[in-house]
Symmetry: C2
């Protein structure tokens, strides 16, 4: 419950504020919270007694906005939730890994190309993060934790980019996909060769905050 935490820290807030803060953190990318979910979450939390409605003002004929603040019960819940996340160790779901599981379904040259491209994209992302980490804007207008988070992403990114290259090399070298014991087995026939259009690293829209280096990619 990110949202609980945000309310705690921005008290009292209305949904729109929460939404903006989340987006400014880029949290829609790394937490599973899209703007659309916020209001529902707020209402549900309020109804569970973890938040309390504090006021409902209306400006002109615009939608009325309701401000919330956290209740002791909510604080409590936040605390345990936070601790669970800090102490617990859960493996995040990664769509790429899922796709990688189907490695043999892709023609070798394409797999190699994809991995190489991925490696590059990741490295570019790492670079751009490193840059914005050093930018003074981040450095002295955001809590240090933000920088540290960047460091984590960078570390992960580097590890992953290296892995991409390593694996690409192996695939290129023709390492067989199956151990001999299963050699005959197929069903793992590759998908049609390739869609002739050569792919370029999909231009991922990025850049929340400034530092708009169009060096794309996360």
């Amino acid at each position: 419950m990110m949202i609980l935490g945000l309310v705690k820290w921005m008290q009292p807030v209305h949904g729109y504020d929460v939404r903006r803060e989340l987006l400014s953190w880029g949290a829609d990318k790394w937490a599973n919270v899209q703007p659309g979910s916020i209001y529902h979450a707020l209402r549900k939390l309020a109804q569970e007694g973890q938040l309390r409605e504090v006021a409902t003002e209306q400006v002109g004929a615009r939608p009325a906005r309701t401000t919330y603040e956290i209740t002791p019960k909510g604080l409590d819940e936040f605390e345990t939730l936070l601790r669970d996340l800090w102490w617990g160790n859960q493996q995040a779901a990664d769509p790429f890994v899922a796709a990688f599981a189907f490695l043999p379904a892709l023609p070798r040259p394409e797999a190699v190309a994809a991995l190489r491209s991925r490696g590059q994209v990741i490295r570019a992302g790492v670079e751009s993060m490193r840059a914005s980490m050093e930018s003074s804007w981040i450095r002295d207008s955001k809590p240090v934790g933000v920088t540290w988070m960047y460091e984590l992403w960078i570390a992960r990114g580097e590890a992953e980019a290296d892995w991409c290259d390593r694996v690409a090399d192996r695939i290129e070298a023709g390492v067989p996909y199956l151990p001999e014991s299963l050699a005959g087995r197929d069903g793992w026939t590759a998908v049609e060769p390739a869609p002739e259009v050569e792919r370029e690293p999909t231009p991922t829209p990025n850049a929340d905050t400034e530092t708009e280096a169009e060096t794309d990619a996360y």
Copy 2:
């Protein structure tokens, strides 16, 4: 949709088979596919014409089971889906990062302890993965891709564990959370000191068997 791929490779299958295969891959952890979703997915895919119902047998008085196989349309869809995932680069949502964002809400000593513990847990996981990678069972009864996936996890894990230690050191050293420019600002008051119950590193995650993960809500 992983499931399409699985059906392609195990054709013809019924839901339960898919479920078992997924669980045997541990895919409920790293893909977002819980057993409960499978049947819904199958029906939806069938209804969209990407799968075709092939038979419905019934053994005794047990629930009837329906077997599916993939259609050309499904193959097509799978192909593009697969390529999107291989080429696209999307940042996976990570609950820990979300929690880390609330760093200042935790008393320093606890944050340090939690990070250290996390580092250890991750290292232990890495070790156990390394072990099962070397085990002959994996080596010659599973596709090589599996080993490579382990390598990825190991690389990531090592990067992350190091990061944990680094950050723990800094927090311990008392590095301030906010830049001076924001020094006065609070609202980031830490949560109650600590629930005196000492936490222990969650039981070391074992690579090929179950690992508990707790649900987070928003």
